[in-house]
């Protein structure tokens, strides 16, 4: 557990970057610090590993005041990931990852073998081990950064906008892998971002900071969306809060209707027969995975990939209400496609039924 107690940082010249911040970051959880630029989120992060010393207040890690610890020892116990990775350009991928183990005095062979394991863990091909960072893509560099921070298996990870420098598709990939990794490792993570969507996606708890480094609200993402503490937090959260909040509610009991399907490649007559007058017909592959919708009456020949309408999203049974509702809203037939964990079709659900489920949810009372 990391505990900040009344932590203040005033820079020479009198600007307060952080003011009277008290915050507890529970062990094994992801705490996201989010806020506009100038809210002191990075300063706060760097005070935890003493790269910046607080002007007043104390920071405890597992009950020990960090001010009483040797900064080098403290830092080697905390993985640190920054935007772009901050990799050593003059060291190979493997040697970058082995940095902290070598500092801790492990022998070279053990450090390298652990580094190779970390590469695998973060999804880097072993062929990249001898490359230099400038030979890697942005996403790969970021993975090396994460692997390097994890190498000595520190209980704490400090991450400063680690996924900001990559394009949106890669970012989402990295975020998903990061969550999977955390489910496996259970580190105590402090994560800084300016992106509220990232905060909501990744955080077990989210601390919204305002300019000047005061805590505006500390809450779980669902609670934050449902009940922002003030106008600042509400503005910062942005639009569609109700809809986004549904991402945190599981949809267990939706009435699922069976859906007639044709296999890709079926001829037009089969499609029209199966549709039995329905405007849209669901097309699946041999493994029963949904591919898209067709309008049988418009078909001039067989059901081909070119005839598919792919606008509909697919939700997983037992997934969130948001995914189920979006599947229904995005489907041209307005029937939302539900699949099981292996991606096989289970049936469809209607927006109405999802809404009924939403209304059945106990209403939160404003606190």
């Amino acid at each position: 557990m990391i505990a900040l107690r009344e932590v203040t940082k005033v820079y020479p010249g009198g600007t307060a970057a952080v003011e009277g911040l008290s915050l507890v970051m529970p062990t094994g959880q992801i705490t996201v610090l989010v806020g506009p630029s100038g809210c002191g989120k990075t300063t706060t992060l760097r005070m935890i590993n003493r790269m910046i010393e607080p002007t007043s207040g104390t920071i405890e890690v597992d009950g020990r005041d960090t001010a009483s610890l040797n900064p080098g020892v403290l830092r080697r116990g905390m993985g640190y990931v920054i935007q772009g990775g901050g990799l050593f350009p003059h060291r190979t991928v493997l040697d970058n990852i082995a940095t902290v183990p070598l500092l801790l005095g492990w022998d070279r062979r053990r450090a390298r073998s652990v580094a190779a394991e970390q590469m695998e863990r973060v999804g880097l091909a072993s062929g990249l081990a001898k490359r230099y960072p400038n030979e890697l893509s942005g996403g790969q560099q970021q993975r090396v950064g994460v692997a390097r921070a994890l190498a000595a298996d520190p209980p704490v990870m400090l991450m400063d906008e680690p996924f900001s420098a990559v394009d949106p598709v890669v970012r989402e990939q990295l975020q998903d892998e990061f969550l999977r990794l955390q489910a496996e490792l259970g580190k105590t993570i402090v994560f800084v971002t300016h992106d509220i969507d990232e905060a909501i996606k990744l955080g077990d708890q989210v601390a919204v900071l305002r300019v000047g480094g005061a805590l505006a609200q500390l809450a779980a993402p669902a609670e934050l969306l449902a009940d922002p503490a003030d106008d600042f937090v509400a503005d910062f959260l942005g639009r569609d809060r109700g809809y986004r909040g549904l991402a945190f509610t599981a949809a267990p009991d939706l009435p699922i209707a069976p859906e007639p399907t044709v296999v890709l490649g079926a001829d037009g007559d089969t499609a029209r027969l199966t549709a039995a007058g329905r405007g849209w017909l669901l097309v699946v592959d041999q493994a029963d995975a949904p591919l898209g919708w067709v309008q049988p009456t418009q078909l001039s020949g067989a059901v081909t990939r070119e005839t598919l309408h792919r606008g509909g999203t697919v939700a997983t049974v037992g997934g969130s209400l948001r995914a189920a509702l979006d599947a229904a809203l995005s489907s041209p037939s307005r029937r939302g496609v539900l699949v099981d964990d292996d991606g096989r079709l289970v049936g469809t659900v209607r927006a109405q039924d999802v809404l009924t489920e939403i209304e059945r949810e106990p209403q939160r009372s404003p606190s």
Binding site: M51, Y80, I82, T99, Y132, R148
Partner: protein
């Protein structure tokens, strides 16, 4: 050409002396310039005075410096130590700024990451900052090497034997051959030193040659 063939041994000896007189100060100069450059980089207020004052040293005419050295050091006028120390001064003059620039070229986020991993102080300087400054320092070193080769020859006026002696000798005897041989030998020496530094720097910085982002 005939003169050259007949004096091969003599030219060879002069070349070796010339090379030593140019290279030894280069090595001592780098060793001295690194801490000075570090000071100029580390303490902002020191940068201007250090860079300007060492840079000014380079404006002292070489002949004057060679003549001054025995007076300052108490050495004999023919002592090669005069040349070594004078050229060390020039090397330092050229390299302090280069070292400071090289250290400043190390990306901030790399230093940050190093610090955050507990790589600090002297260890960080030798394992992160200095290796990353090598390309910039090597570029300055190449300039200093060529400059040294050229300045050494001036010491011939004081009677210190090296390739420059061929110029004074040829001039005194109104004989062109040794002068031409001296010029060519100086140029070759400068080229070889330049190449050695270039290759050495490449070997020290394999990462700079690896391709662009995949």
């Amino acid at each position: 050409m005939k003169w050259f063939v007949g004096h091969l041994g003599q030219v060879g000896d002069l070349l070796v002396t010339h090379a030593l007189l140019a290279v030894i100060p280069l090595i001592i100069g780098v060793v001295l310039a690194i801490p000075l450059g570090w000071l100029a980089h580390r303490f902002r207020w020191l940068r201007t005075p250090l860079v300007v004052s060492t840079g000014l040293l380079y404006t002292i005419p070489s002949l004057a410096l060679f003549i001054l050295m025995p007076l300052v050091l108490g050495t004999g006028i023919l002592d090669p130590l005069n040349v070594v120390i004078a050229l060390t001064v020039y090397t330092v003059a050229l390299l302090v700024r280069t070292v400071a620039d090289g250290l400043a070229s190390v990306p901030d986020e790399v230093i940050q990451a190093a610090t955050a991993m507990g790589v600090g102080g002297v260890r960080r300087f030798f394992t992160v900052d200095l290796p990353l400054a090598v390309p910039v320092i090597a570029a300055g070193l190449r300039v200093a090497a060529v400059s040294n080769v050229s300045i050494v020859s001036v010491a011939a006026l004081l009677g210190i034997a090296q390739l420059g002696s061929l110029f004074t000798d040829g001039f005194a005897r109104n004989f062109l051959d040794p002068i031409v041989v001296g010029i060519v030998a100086c140029m070759l020496l400068a080229l070889v030193l330049d190449l050695v530094i270039l290759v050495g720097s490449r070997l020290l910085t394999p990462w700079t040659r690896s391709g662009a982002a995949a």
